[in-house]
């Protein structure tokens, strides 16, 4: 079940079929588009398109979904560099130096170096994923329900504790996500819960509706409120970076890959965190830190590298433990489950052809993205100019179509609208969204693992503390909760309580 070159070569053979190559290319193209367009992020992009991929075979569908995800990571820097509008929190450090370069007439090299750094970090991270994921999956084979419950509990705790001084809001966000997921039939007994006698609610709330509402619809609301109209008139010429530029960025690319990948293995360590860490590290190791913020090309390469490394690293816990570490990974998990695939250690044993094909497709996807991004830099920069009065209704249209096509029920679209409004208020009031997304996806698995573990122990919760692996996870979870409570207690002002709840 561990790593073998045979598996990888078989994966390449599957990924290189015409059909899979085509869908990977489509995914890369849509992903870059999703990343480039302001107002639609990778999470909503994947969530909207996920139900539409049901017409494809599972391997092609997940290859396309993965390509959309890392494609969006490539494209995310364009608005940050060209117009100083970071579409995602993770693109903020890129904007610091990227926009300065653009103002100096070097938008082309900045965009190109961001694509090259993304390619280098993406490829190095896929190599690490190739070796790490099966190794961890082999370790996870011994996991039983108590270990799984403890692992998911730890994952959620880490995500919540990263809300910092907004801990209470993080827990509330998680609890609302759980409430939404609990509506419907109990997974163990089939009893109806929180349905209030309505037949429609008996089928439960689809997490895709929740995610599309939280991300896409609320984003549209924020944008129409600000009435963003047209964006930029900047033309991109001379996109090729010089050899000096590339030499200058080599160290930054390698360092940011390491930072992004290893931090990205941790639940809650989203690209919005790792890109800042990588940028800061680069500034510290630089002989001329004063250049940062004034158009230093390493200041573009480092966050872009970290961004892609983190997004690839998220696949390691997803494939080996079935644990999503970020909202985008939660959507990927939902996608895998939609196709009847259970991520976790058995994925490598039971569906090796699938998992290795997806991993192999990532190598190919990175090359495709480099080709799509480098010569077409000017085209992507032009797409940024699509005004929001066209883009906004289009995002809503895609959201409605995507949500409706999950179960072909209009009820799911109403749920999307409801969570769009909830998401808007959450953003305004400083509630983190990530805990809600993760909990709505993990709820059923969490409850099933809890039920099975308690069945094993005849109802004693001590089982989580008497088995060594689950005890370690529980200890880490309690530590992170304790840390979160401590920072909450220390908070002295209402402003401080909300300033950490950025994601």
């Amino acid at each position: 079940m561990g790593f073998s070159f045979d598996y990888l070569f078989q994966g390449f053979a599957t990924a290189l079929t015409f059909q899979n190559l085509f869908w990977a290319l489509v995914g890369c193209f849509i992903g870059t588009l999703v990343g480039v367009l302001p107002g639609i992020g990778p999470v909503s992009g994947i969530a909207i398109l996920l139900p539409l991929t049901t017409v494809l075979p599972p391997t092609s569908a997940i290859i396309m979904m993965a390509a959309i995800y890392y494609g969006a990571m490539y494209g995310g820097s364009t608005t940050a560099i060209v117009v100083n509008i970071p579409g995602e929190a993770s693109s903020v450090p890129t904007a610091l130096d990227g926009y300065e370069m653009a103002k100096q007439g070097k938008a082309g090299p900045a965009l190109a170096i961001s694509a090259i750094a993304s390619f280098v970090a993406g490829t190095l991270s896929v190599i690490a994923l190739t070796f790490f994921a099966p190794m961890l999956a082999e370790f996870a084979v011994v996991f039983g329900p108590p270990e799984y419950f403890a692992l998911m509990f730890m994952g959620l705790s880490l995500v919540i504790s990263l809300s910092g001084r907004a801990l209470l809001k993080g827990v509330i966000s998680m609890a609302i996500g759980l409430t939404a997921a609990l509506i419907g039939q109990d997974p163990l007994t089939g009893a109806s819960r929180l349905t209030f006698g309505t037949v429609t609610l008996n089928a439960g709330v689809e997490f895709i509706s929740v995610i599309v509402g939280l991300f896409a619809i609320s984003e549209v609301m924020i944008n129409v409120e600000q009435r963003i109209t047209a964006i930029s008139e900047m033309n991109i010429k001379n996109w090729m970076p010089t050899w000096t530029d590339i030499r200058q960025c080599t160290g930054a690319m390698v360092r940011s890959t390491a930072v992004g990948f290893f931090l990205g293995l941790l639940p809650g360590c989203a690209p919005s965190v790792t890109t800042f860490v990588a940028y800061d590290l680069e500034k510290r190791v630089s002989k001329h830190p004063e250049r940062f913020g004034k158009g230093a090309i390493e200041g573009v390469a480092a966050p872009e590298g970290a961004n892609n490394a983190t997004s690839t690293a998220g696949f390691v816990p997803l494939f080996s433990f079935g644990l999503p570490t970020a909202p985008s990974m939660a959507v990927m998990l939902g996608g895998l489950m939609m196709y009847g695939l259970q991520p976790g250690p058995m994925l490598f044993a039971q569906n090796p052809q699938f998992v290795w094909a997806v991993i192999a497709s990532m190598y190919i996807g990175n090359v495709m993205l480099l080709i799509l991004n480098l010569p077409l830099v000017g085209m992507w920069a032009k797409i940024v100019r699509i005004p929001f009065y066209i883009l906004g209704p289009m995002i809503v249209f895609c959201s409605v179509v995507g949500t409706y096509s999950i179960r072909f029920q209009i009820f799911d679209v109403w749920i999307m609208l409801l969570f769009g409004v909830i998401g808007y208020f959450m953003r305004k009031l400083g509630f983190p969204v990530a805990p809600m997304v993760l909990s709505s996806v993990l709820a059923q698995m969490l409850e099933t693992a809890l039920g099975q573990a308690l069945l094993m122990s005849q109802g004693s919760p001590l089982i989580f503390f008497t088995r060594p692996i689950s005890a370690v996870f529980m200890a880490l979870a309690l530590l992170s909760i304790g840390r979160g409570i401590w920072s909450q207690v220390k908070a002295k002002s209402p402003e401080a309580v909300t300033e950490d709840a950025e994601y």
Binding site: L182, L194, I217, V400, L429
Partner: protein, 154 residues
């Protein structure tokens, strides 16, 4: 609810009430067997969590003093734009089953583009027409997905 503190107190109270509602609703959940996790347990825990955290948020915010953040609520024009956007989306959803996906999409997109940029009514009609045609051709005709086609296409 102009400042963060006031908003947190109000939202904390609302969440606590919601928690009480979930706890109450959980008491109606029946079923389960010996040594098995009863189906009401998890919702009950979540309800208690909401009650505790909501109360905690309200109390903590009430006790806090010092620098307060002003919440960037939209101005009147912004509120009106958001409301129109939401209401038109609600109409889009409601009309989808009656008019079908292509026609409802045409009406929604044409209206939305016209509303957000009134000088561009021709753009609105052209784009909404293209989108409606794509929605029919791609989703209903080619992919064969079960979207309502509407009286024009049935």
């Amino acid at each position: 609810m102009k400042t963060q503190r006031a908003a947190d107190i109000a939202v904390g109270c609302l969440i606590a009430l919601f928690g009480i509602f979930i706890i109450y609703a959980s008491t109606f959940i029946t079923g389960g067997a010996a040594h098995r996790l009863p189906p009401r347990t998890f919702p009950m825990i979540v309800g208690i969590l909401l009650l505790l955290c909501g109360t905690g948020l309200a109390l903590k915010s009430w006790s806090l003093r010092g620098a307060d953040r002003v919440i960037p609520w939209p101005e009147k024009e912004g509120v009106r734009t958001i409301l129109v956007t939401l209401i038109s989306l609600a109409f889009y959803i409601a009309l989808m089953n009656r008019l079908g996906l292509p026609l409802a999409t045409f009406v929604y997109i044409a209206f939305s583009i016209w509303y957000l940029k009134r000088s561009k009514w021709l753009t609105a009609i052209v784009i909404s027409l293209i989108t409606a045609v794509i929605s029919y051709t791609l989703f209903i005709h080619l992919l064969g997905l079960s979207f309502p086609a509407g009286f024009l296409f049935e």
